[in-house]
């Protein structure tokens, strides 16, 4: 048995079901690691240690009595603190909601608990999932376990940092402009933004109604598929929920990529927003590896990143203003500088700007759908740079928009980010795979082929 804190979700669940590992023993090991490492990482806003231990004890009793609740029974999960967990505050990492007690679980949390997962605590985020990293909030920003002087990405910062550091094997994040995939990229883990509407948003604090997604964050591709299978499904009380059937997302994991057609969106990182040479070389290596494994790789052209970004930003900021306008009018000083500036921008967008963005969005969706008539999966950059220093504000501001994630919030296609290699400075580099609507299974199939070829699931940060 490997060290408990590096057990994958799948391995932990199997070992617990086989009574080789006790949920209590696993939770104790993780809480000790949290106690040791979290003062350097700030992944948590609140560790719910007592409740987590009580739940682990209950899981152990149930399992010893031969009752297994589901595929995640006894496995700890971290929850981004814009997602409701009954009995705990949902602070959104903000002074504005410091005492905002949740009375019910969000639907996604409820589903995880139904499968037997145990909530270990609430995780750091950029304030309201938009403004960060910020040092002028009640809690410090999360840090990158590969180098705590560096940014872990955001906005699901604590989720990325904690999964990568072995504080918990899985976490929930949210993604409106790339906020699951950015920390996955910076921290070298697997993060999926599912198809829009596949996972219910009920019980999650909104940022932008038509762009918000909830997604799984894990250290392996198969764990990610298992977690998605647990949280997906139609919710008639979420107006954005799609009436889709839940797929068996891990069905094709071990099929390889022979015969698959992969569209390489080179212009994103070669022309639109030129990536650093290390990022470019790593992407080329991913494409060649998949080609050698039997995939057909061809170039694909989509609208430019600049325009995708503008459409995403106009929609996001307009919708976010409609949510935050009351508080920004009455208590602007309770927001951190980053989020105050980003959220107030919506006050200066016109209705014409918003409708134009939504109309252009429809054309962009058509362009991506056209590409999927020729290929099965898209391969493209996620971040154009490795994570910068967290205290270098100008560099954070320069690198933050240098990414290719927002296109797929705008279009709603499923998109997964994962490690493509390591930089010369020892920080993760990233790649993104994008699929047809509701075809997460093929995205996972390609991601698993890359993971297997590169051994990305075995690379952990050196933090001890």
């Amino acid at each position: 048995m490997s060290e408990l804190h590096w057990l994958s979700v799948t391995k932990a669940a199997e070992a617990i079901a086989a009574k080789e590992v006790s949920p209590v023993e696993l939770m104790q090991a993780l809480l000790s690691r949290v106690e040791k490492l979290d003062p350097r990482l700030n992944a948590f806003i609140r560790v719910d240690g007592d409740q987590a231990m009580a739940s682990a004890q209950a899981a152990e009793t149930e399992i010893m009595a031969g009752h297994r609740r589901g595929p995640l029974h006894g496995v700890p999960v971290g929850i981004k603190d814009i997602i409701d967990v009954a009995g705990l505050p949902t602070t959104c990492h903000s002074k504005v909601l410091q005492d905002n007690m949740a009375t019910d679980d969000a639907v996604c949390v409820n589903k995880l608990r139904g499968a037997g997962a145990i909530v270990i605590g609430k995780l750091s985020t950029h304030e309201f999932a938009i403004g960060g990293p910020s040092f002028d909030l009640p809690w410090p920003p999360a840090r990158n376990p590969w180098n705590p002087n560096h940014h872990p990405g955001g906005s699901s910062s604590g989720s990325g940092s904690g999964v990568a550091a072995g504080l918990f094997p899985m976490a929930l994040g949210t993604d409106t402009g790339g906020s699951v995939r950015n920390p996955a990229s910076c921290c070298g883990i697997v993060g999926l933004k599912p198809t829009y509407g596949l996972v219910s948003r009920r019980g999650v604090f909104p940022l932008s109604f038509t762009l918000d997604h909830i997604g799984p964050m894990t250290r392996t591709v198969s764990d990610n598929a298992l977690m998605l299978e647990t949280i997906a499904g139609h919710d008639p009380l979420d107006p954005g929920s799609a009436p889709s059937r839940i797929g068996h997302y891990g069905a094709a994991l071990e099929r390889g990529v022979k015969g698959l057609r992969i569209g390489f969106v080179r212009h994103f990182h070669e022309v639109d927003t030129p990536a650093t040479p290390e990022v470019t070389a790593a992407l080329q290596h991913v494409a060649l590896t998949l080609q050698m494994a039997g995939a057909e790789v061809r170039d694909v052209t989509l609208p430019t990143l600049g325009e995708f970004g503008a459409v995403n930003r106009v929609i996001l900021q307009s919708e976010a203003w409609s949510i935050h306008s009351k508080w920004l009018r009455e208590r602007p000083g309770d927001y951190a500088l980053f989020s105050r500036r980003r959220l107030m921008a919506g006050a200066f967008m016109s209705s014409g700007d918003y409708v134009l963005a939504q109309r252009r969005r429809r054309e962009m969706i058509a362009a991506v759908e056209d590409a999927f008539r020729e290929v099965d999966v898209l391969l493209c950059a996620s971040s154009m740079d490795p994570a910068c220093r967290i205290d270098d504000t100008p560099e954070v501001e320069r690198t933050y928009p240098r990414q290719a994630r927002t296109p797929f919030n705008t279009t709603g296609h499923p998109a997964l980010a994962m490690m493509s290699g390591l930089s010369s400075g020892g920080l993760p580099l990233s790649v993104q795979f994008v699929g047809r609507y509701f075809d997460e299974a093929t995205v996972y199939q390609v991601a698993r082929a890359w993971e297997q070829a590169a051994g990305t699931d075995k690379k952990h940060p050196p933090i001890v």
């Binding site: 503008a310 900021q317 009018r329 602007p332 500036r341 921008a345 134009l356 939504q358």
Partner: protein, 59 residues
């Protein structure tokens, strides 16, 4: 965007308090909005917005 227009739009949006306490942030937000909106290409006049118009089941 010039200062007078920013102040006028901010007041219209009810941001008097922010204007008094954080004038630089209000100006930064306004300029950000103007810059980003200008980057969107004109669309086909027949293009409709997303999400599509859809009557609710309860109607």
């Amino acid at each position: 965007m010039d200062k007078e227009i920013i102040e006028m739009l901010a007041r219209r949006a009810g941001l008097q308090k922010a204007l008094a306490e954080f004038p630089e942030d209000v100006a930064a937000a306004a300029n950000q909005a103007g810059d980003v909106a200008a980057k969107i290409k004109p669309v086909d006049p027949r293009a409709e917005p997303w999400p599509p118009m859809r009557a609710g089941e309860e109607l």
